[in-house]
C-alpha cells in the first residue's frame, strides 16, 4: 500500500466517521465540531487532488467563516433550547430511502461510467499552480465572478434586513 493510498483511506475514514457523528449527535455544538473536522479532512483530500487553492478556500470559507457563523447562531439561540431528538424507531423509512440513493449512486458510478471510473489519474498534473487557475477564472469566467459579488452583496443585505428588530411605533 502506497503512502498516498494510506493517506486517502485515513482521511476518508475520518470524513465518514465525522459525517455520521454530525448526523447522529444530540448536541448542535458537537454536530458543528464534527462538521469542522469533516471539512478539514476533505480539504486535505483536495490537496491530494492537486487543488491547493480550493483546499485553502475550503479551510477559510467553510471551516472558518461558515462554521463560525453556525457556532455563533448556536450560542445566540442558546444550546439547551436546540435539543430536538429523533426517534430511533421511526427512521426506517428514511434509512431505506438513503440506502436506495446510495445503491443508485454506486450503480451509476460503476455501470454508466464504465471504463472511466477505473482510470488512474495522470501523474503529471498541470493543476497545482493557482496562478494558472486565476488566468482561467478572470478570462473565461469573468462575468460569473462579477455576478458572485452581487450575490454576496444581496445575501448581506438580506441577512441584515431579516434579523433587524422591527420597532413598534408608539402612537
Amino acid at each position: 500500500m502506497t503512502l498516498e493510498l494510506f493517506l486517502f483511506f485515513t482521511l476518508a475514514l475520518i470524513a465518514l466517521v465525522t459525517a455520521g457523528g454530525m448526523v447522529f449527535s444530540k448536541s448542535a455544538v458537537y454536530a458543528a465540531l464534527n462538521l469542522v473536522t469533516n471539512f478539514l479532512s476533505v480539504a486535505i483530500l483536495y490537496l491530494l487532488l492537486d487543488a491547493p487553492f480550493i483546499a485553502l478556500a475550503q479551510v477559510t470559507v467553510y471551516a472558518g467563516a461558515i462554521m463560525v457563523l453556525f457556532l455563533f447562531v448556536i450560542m445566540l439561540l442558546g444550546v439547551e433550547t436546540l435539543r430536538a431528538e429523533f426517534d430511533w424507531k421511526k427512521i426506517w423509512l428514511q434509512a431505506v430511502l438513503a440506502l436506495a440513493l446510495l445503491v443508485e449512486g454506486f450503480v451509476m458510478l460503476f455501470q454508466r461510467m464504465g471504463q472511466a471510473a477505473n482510470l488512474p489519474f495522470n501523474t503529471a498534473s498541470v493543476l497545482t499552480n493557482p496562478s494558472e487557475m486565476a488566468k482561467v477564472l478572470f478570462t473565461d469566467y469573468l462575468l460569473p465572478f462579477e455576478l458572485t459579488s452581487i450575490l454576496l452583496l444581496v445575501a448581506m443585505i438580506g441577512a441584515i434586513v431579516l434579523t433587524k428588530q422591527v420597532k413598534k411605533r408608539s402612537l
Binding site: I54, V61, V136
Partner: protein
Amino acid sequence: MIPVSYYLALSAILFTTGMFGVLIRRNALVVFMSIELMLNAANLSLVAFSRLYQTFHGQIFVFFIMAVAAAEVAVGLALIVTIFRSKQSIDLDQMNSLKG
C-alpha cells in the same frame, strides 16, 4: 495512483449521509449543516473530475459553489434566527403555520 472511483465513492457516501441527516433530524440547524455536507460531497467529486481531465473548470465551479454556499448560510441562518424569535423553537415539526 488512486483511481478516480475511490473519490467518487467517498463523495457518494458523504452525500447520502447528508441526505439521511436532512431526513431524520428535526433540528433546523443540524438539517442546515447536513445540506452543507451534501454541497461539500458534490465539491469533492467536481475536484476529482477536474483532476482526472486536467482542466480548471471543475475547480472554478467549486469556487463558485463555495461563494453560493456562503451566501446561502448567511441568509439561512438569518431566517432561522427570525423563526426562533417568533416561535421560540427551531424544531421543523412546529413550522406548520401554512398547513391547511
